[in-house]
């Protein structure tokens, strides 16, 4: 019995990690700028498509027709030469193999630019507007981003292979000194969980231990006073928006081998992430992370056959059910502060 429970716990971790990463970014934006960002799921999707783009760039080929050679059916032979071979030599093959983690290199600058551009271009005009209008404009932006991606990459999911060394499953049970081959777990999911752990830890450390983070935290608590002290808090908040976009984008990049990205992957995650943020308490960073993992793990337990036999359909509604119960019992979510977003 214990190993079954432990396995479900592990299964919940990778989904919970994705929820936690998206919810973390949403909360960062809300806590700093006070903006409810419905375009955050679209940022996750854009990140995922950075990985797709990177792989497409790497697998570009030059096709030359060699008239001296003939293919088996008599036509002139097409010689395909991967460009990456020409650029990087043998390292190119490694790069193609590791295209998903490697695309982080292009994801960070792209998402930083997208985030800062979005904030400076549109969202900064909405600080003083009602939350309903913020929701609407970001919702419109999400539709635009989604449709742009659809028109460039098509409507179908584009599978991204994981690096060959990280395929297969790890025998975690044996590693922990239990019976072998009872608890095995796909390596990539483990990688994703560790990755999210590093990102979340990094964001918290950044906010906690750097001067920049200290100023941002002060600004979250009392924006006006920090501004009166002569600090350009707007500029720092813009950078925080960019950082939130990068977090969402990285979450998307690393998730591509688990779920082939299509243009509406962001919306699917967004609805759940909003539930996660609200359950954690609007504006609370630890709340977002805790609620993300909590809901991911609960979802995994609810999809066990034994549980489904007990309560039919529970796996379909568990997240929403938990959200409803928590919101009705704890009005501000798990870690929410008083007076946030209740107008």
């Amino acid at each position: 019995m214990f190993d079954v429970i432990f396995l479900q716990f592990l299964n919940g971790l990778d989904k919970g990690a994705a929820y936690a990463l998206i919810a973390l970014g949403l909360t960062l934006v809300f806590g700093t700028l006070g903006v409810v960002n419905f375009a955050h799921g679209a940022l996750f999707m854009l990140g995922a498509f950075c990985a797709v783009l990177f792989r497409q760039l790497l697998t570009m080929e030059t096709i030359t027709i060699d008239p001296t050679q003939l293919s088996p059916w008599g036509a002139p032979l097409e010689v395909r030469a991967p460009l990456v071979q020409a650029w990087f030599g043998d390292f190119g093959a490694v790069l193609v193999n590791y295209s998903v983690p490697a695309s982080i290199i292009i994801t960070i600058p792209i998402m930083l630019l997208v985030g800062i551009g979005l904030e400076r271009g549109i969202i900064k005009h909405f600080y003083k507007r009602p939350h309903a209008e913020q929701i609407l404009v970001t919702f419109g932006l999400a539709i635009v981003a989604q449709e742009l991606i659809k028109s460039f990459f098509g409507p179908n999911p584009i599978p991204q292979p994981m690096p060959s060394d990280l395929r297969g499953a790890a025998d975690i049970g044996a590693f922990l000194g239990m019976q072998a081959n009872v608890i095995t777990y796909p390596i990539w999911r483990l990688v994703y969980f560790l990755f999210s752990f590093i990102i979340i830890g990094g964001v918290f450390a950044f906010l906690q231990f750097t001067t920049f983070g200290m100023v941002v935290r002060a600004g979250m608590a009392d924006r006006e006073t920090v501004g009166l002290l002569g600090i350009n808090i707007d500029k720092r908040f813009t950078i925080m928006f960019g950082l939130a976009a990068v977090v969402a984008g990285l979450a998307g990049v690393m998730y591509t081998p688990l779920l082939p990205p299509n243009y509406h992957i962001g919306m699917d995650f967004l609805v759940l992430s909003f539930v996660v943020v609200v359950v954690g308490g609007m504006g609370s960073l630890p709340g977002a992370v805790a609620a993300g993992f909590l809901l991911g793990i609960l979802q995994s337990f609810a999809s066990m056959t034994q549980v489904k036999a007990l309560i039919p359909g529970i796996d379909q509604v568990i997240i929403y059910l938990v959200a409803v119960v928590i919101l009705l019992v704890l009005p501000r979510g798990l870690f929410g502060r008083r007076g946030v977003m209740e107008a």
Binding site: L136, F139, G313, Y320, V324
Partner: protein, 382 residues
């Protein structure tokens, strides 16, 4: 209850005239076919109902499609079990969706702001997921609930007129296809518009507006606001149920995708696009979105090529390629862009645009008219 002023009456009559004459004045825009016109009416009702909640009280529900879907299912079940007549189906649908809205509203209205939005969203997504999985005996899952020849239809059997052939909904024996269906829906749109107008003008409507502008102050003056918001929620849920039932009347097939959160988002878009809080705005928004959904998505490259043919060679090809991204499959892109522009520059929606133009054209006219007395000049095709 305030009696109807002359302005109100003029607005209602003008609205009714515009609606009933739709098959004529929509002819030049290529939209005067019954199927689209029925959709105009149905989503008009949906948006008017949504506006009673969002426009008057300011509570943003993200789960209104659940009531729409429940209305559809209830109507189809009434066709299956009771009678093929539309009247019992409508009554049944309104009652069921009203009860559904009462339960969800009672729980959700304990919170406000985004917590309320998330609660309604959670309830709607639960209904949607359950309709697809466990409730398959009631909803028929992915196939959707449809009429069959072997349905019991107890009331019809009692009166002994089991119709031969494929069953279709009727009204007192009259088939509801084509323009009959349109006028049936149009009658309901005008009726619901009238009710919404009366609600907006009544003391109850004033209470709701008070809740929107400052709920805390309402509470401090000793008013318990919960019954008012709950009443508004239930009324708007019943409107959605009615719209869902009409959807089932014109096309007796109910599917769970009508309850998905994108459908809830759509009605929010309609209301905002037209102008939340106004009477005519939401209807306009619904018409504009449905019109462009049908017309834009039908455009293709050859039509565009003809449209751009006045441009010099080469340039026209570029124009076709660029504009092709915005029509057909990509019409959602246009919707998103228009929507962002509207929220940025015209937060009051189309109705605010109309008002700004009116004050621009006649600067010496009376002080800015209140939203509900603006005369309707709907030109959704522009």
């Amino acid at each position: 209850m305030r009696t109807m002023t002359r302005n109100d009456l003029m607005l209602l009559l003008g609205f009714a005239a515009v609606v009933l004459a739709m098959p004529i004045w929509l002819q030049p825009f290529g939209a005067a076919y019954p199927d689209l016109l029925q959709r105009f009416m149905i989503f008009g009702i949906f948006a008017v109902g949504f506006n009673i909640l969002f426009g008057l009280t300011g509570y943003l529900s993200f789960g209104h499609a659940a009531f729409f879907g429940v209305g559809s299912y209830a109507a189809v079940w009434s066709f299956k079990l009771l009678s093929l007549d539309a009247i019992p189906a409508m009554i049944f649908a309104i009652v069921i969706s009203g009860v559904f809205a009462l339960i969800i509203g009672y729980l959700s209205l304990r919170r406000s702001g985004i917590y309320f939005s998330i609660l309604t969203l959670a309830f709607a997504q639960m209904s949607y997921n359950l309709a697809y999985s466990v409730l398959t005996p009631i909803t028929n899952g992915e196939t959707g609930l449809q009429l069959t020849i072997n349905d019991p239809r107890y009331l019809d059997r009692v009166f002994g007129d089991a119709m031969p052939g494929q069953p279709v909904p009727t009204l007192l024996g009259q088939s509801l296809g084509g323009f009959t269906g349109f006028y049936f829906c149009a009658a309901f749109l005008i009726l619901t518009f009238f009710i919404a107008q009366r609600i907006t003008g009544s003391p109850f409507g004033m209470m709701l507006k008070g809740i929107k502008s400052n709920q805390t102050r309402m509470n401090y003056t000793g008013v318990n606001t919960r019954p008012y918001t709950l009443a508004a929620f239930v009324i708007s849920g019943m409107y959605a149920g009615l719209a869902g039932a009409l959807m089932a009347v014109t096309d007796p097939l109910a599917g769970a995708e009508r309850m998905q959160w994108t459908a809830s988002g759509e009605v929010v878009l309609m209301t905002i696009l037209g102008g939340a809080g106004t009477l005519v705005g939401p209807v306009l928004g619904a018409w504009i979105i449905k019109y462009f959904e049908n017309i834009f998505s039908a455009l293709n490259d050859s039509i565009l090529a003809r449209f751009w043919s006045f441009l010099p060679d080469g340039l026209d090809h570029t124009a076709v390629v660029v504009s092709g991204k915005f029509v057909g499959e990509g019409w959602f892109l246009t919707l998103g862009l228009v929507f962002v522009l509207i929220v940025v520059f015209l937060p009051g929606g189309v109705m605010e645009g109309v008002r700004r133009i009116t004050t621009l054209v006649s600067p010496k006219s009376k002080p800015p008219a209140s939203p509900e007395s603006t005369s309707p000049q709907p030109q959704p095709a522009e």
